[in-house]
């Protein structure tokens, strides 16, 4: 399978501080890829850089999406190419209603209505009552994550960047989110890069590959369940040593 995303020798700074160092990753089309790592290791930075946040300055290296270099493309250009991010802590915006954003995601003008199919998805995510509320403002943890996932699915992306979809969310919402994303990936052949700490969301997402991000660098690649078990047993630092030893990296 060709790669949907390829990152080569990527080094990134935020506020003039190094946050990523010589990152190399390749994600195949249709694959769900998992990113493990302790807090502050640079996981969110990596997703933000792929999405194109101007706060993250690429110092070296390149990002390729479907074989095209996108390192210098703006956020909205990347979104239109088919990259979508579900944020760990989604931004609230006063006066901008959830329905406004859903219409944008579904590529509709403010005066156009959502289709029946899209409305059904709103119902499925149990967000009907929040449509006229300011987006993410005073939403509960579960509501925020459901709203993020609904936005993503309406955008019909080719690559989903999911930043801790399973943190601060109730079990029912997690099940819904996990199943819907898995179903979407299965139906459309889309790919996903997922950050998770506990691995809860992996109960629903069929991920084949994972890696550990530690001290701004990627250390090893393996099956998610293998890495997760090792992190649980010995912690990130020991896990990385062991894996590197085994794979002879």
């Amino acid at each position: 399978m060709p790669n949907i995303l390829e990152i080569k020798n990527l080094s990134v700074e935020i506020n003039k501080k190094k946050t990523l160092e010589n990152i190399n990753i390749a994600i195949e089309k249709g694959q769900i890829y998992v990113l493990f790592g302790p807090n502050g290791s640079g996981k969110t930075s990596l997703l933000m850089t792929i999405m194109g946040s101007p706060a993250y300055k690429v110092k070296r290296g390149d990002i390729f999406f479907e074989g095209r270099e996108i390192t210098k493309k703006t956020v909205d250009e990347r979104a239109r190419l088919g990259i979508s991010m579900g944020f760990q802590m989604p931004q609230d915006i006063r006066g901008v209603k959830l329905i406004d954003i859903l219409k944008i995601c579904a590529k509709k003008t403010p005066k156009e209505e959502l289709t029946q199919e899209e409305k059904a998805l709103v119902d499925k995510f149990n967000l009907k009552d929040l449509l006229d509320r300011d987006v993410n403002l005073d939403f509960s943890g579960g509501e925020k994550k459901r709203a993020e996932m609904l936005q993503l699915l309406l955008m019909k992306p080719k690559l989903l960047l999911l930043d801790e979809p399973d943190s601060g969310v109730d079990l029912e919402s997690l099940k819904l989110i996990g199943e819907e994303v898995q179903d979407y990936v299965r139906r459309t052949g889309a790919s996903a890069l997922v950050i998770t700490h506990q691995g809860d969301v992996l109960e629903y997402l069929k991920a084949k590959n994972a890696c550990v991000l530690l001290d701004s660098s990627i250390h090893c690649h393996n099956k998610p369940e293998v890495i997760l078990a090792d992190i649980r047993r010995r912690g990130y630092r020991e896990c990385v040593k062991c894996m590197e030893g085994k794979t002879g990296k």
Binding site: M51, S53, P54, A55, T74, V75, D76, A79, R80, S84, M85, F87, P90, Q91, I93, R94, G95, V96, K97, D100, I101, I104, C105, K107, D134, Q151, M155
Partner: protein
């Protein structure tokens, strides 16, 4: 004049921009004052037993000088503008909602300047009798080319026991106009006064500080303003509420956007004499120009244990994080900025009937598109 449609086409158009419906279809009563005289005053047939509408001069004659209402809430010697308004009064309206009458369809009034450099002095008396309910749209505008005109409008509101009045004032002046509204309201037991203010066009110099006296038990006053200043506009706009009645409540909310080299002074003042009251003041400002200035001056004077008063004020530029979030959904930077500004001028902070909400939403959409 038989209908507002008889006005010159240009005037009709300018008036429509401040919420005046020339067809009068969805209005229960209409009043139109141009330059120095009232041109039109009419209560629709279905509402003649609910609304009394007169030219103020006529009302002063008919009711022996309106001794209980005229210059009772505002001191005529307060400043040069009130003095002029007293001495040079040209008109204005007397609007009374009769006791117990619920008027669901809005009344409308327009104060219009068409003559060059004209100085307009008007005085309005609005009475919501006991248990009545009504909504008033008050649109004020001047025609292009009127130059350095001046508008001084005195308005005194009497919201009697259990009455509910929503007053929405929309201004649309030419860039050289000087504007001095002078308003005050008294709110009796269980009565509520909602005052909305919208100004989205350049104005030379606007200054006002409408005041509500919540004298009644459980009385409520609520002031909301949407202000958008551009060019060299100078807007000094505040609202003040005296919480005097037991259980009275007040809320003052404003959204101010200053662009170019404009200045907005956004004031708010809540004071209580009765400790058993609640008040909240909220001022948000957005700066869209290097020379733009917003000066937020919220004041609270809380007396006595049990007083519950709060204020929040925030002035800044559009957060990069908000723009990034919207761009990640596929919007361009300009589209994202426009959406945030439109959202900032959120009409839902005004408690408007659906039709008027649509009108004002369209106005704010135009503003955000222009940026």
């Amino acid at each position: 004049m038989k209908s507002l449609r008889d006005l010159p086409g240009k005037v009709v158009k300018d008036a429509a921009n401040v919420g005046i419906d020339e067809r009068e279809e969805k209005r229960s009563a209409s009043f139109f004052h141009m330059d120095e005289a009232a041109l039109f005053s009419k209560v629709m047939e279905d509402y003649r037993d609910k609304i009394e509408l007169l030219d103020i001069k006529e009302a002063l004659k008919k009711y022996d000088g309106l001794k209980d209402y005229y210059w009772k809430l505002i001191d005529k010697n307060k400043d040069e503008y009130t003095k002029n308004a007293d001495e040079k009064i040209m008109g204005g309206y007397y609007m009374r909602i009769l006791p117990g009458q619920k008027v669901e369809v809005p009344l409308q009034s327009c104060m219009f300047i068409s003559k060059q450099k004209f100085k307009q002095y008007v005085h309005n008396i609005i009475i919501a009798e006991e248990g009545s309910e009504a909504q008033i749209i008050s649109g004020c505008a001047s025609s292009e080319g009127t130059g350095s005109a001046e508008h001084v409008g005195v308005s005194e509101f009497y919201i009697k026991k259990g009455a509910k009045l929503t007053f929405t004032m929309i201004h649309n002046w030419t860039p050289e106009t000087i504007v001095r509204p002078r308003s005050a309201a008294v709110v009796e037991d269980s009565a509520s006064f909602v005052s909305n203010y919208v100004i989205l066009k350049q104005v030379a110099d606007l200054q006002m500080y409408p005041t509500a006296y919540c004298k009644g038990k459980n009385s409520v006053a609520r002031f909301s303003s949407l202000m958008y200043a551009q060019g060299n506009s100078h807007m000094d706009v505040g609202s003040r509420v005296f919480l005097e009645g037991e259980g009275s409540r007040a809320e003052i909310i404003s959204r101010a956007i200053a662009k170019d080299a404009s200045t907005i002074i956004s004031r708010g003042d809540l004071r209580n004499t009765n400790p058993n009251v609640k008040g909240h003041l909220e001022c948000r400002g957005l700066l869209l120009g290097k020379e733009a200035v917003i000066h937020a001056i919220p004041e609270l004077l809380a007396k006595g244990e049990g007083s519950d008063m709060s204020h929040e004020a925030a002035v800044g530029r559009i957060a990069e994080k908000e723009i990034f979030y919207l761009m990640s959904r596929g919007m361009t930077k300009d589209e994202a900025t426009a959406l945030i500004i439109r959202g900032f001028l959120d009409t839902s902070i005004l408690n408007l009937p659906a039709e008027l909400d649509r009108t004002i939403k369209e106005m704010t959409e135009k503003v955000s598109e222009r940026l």
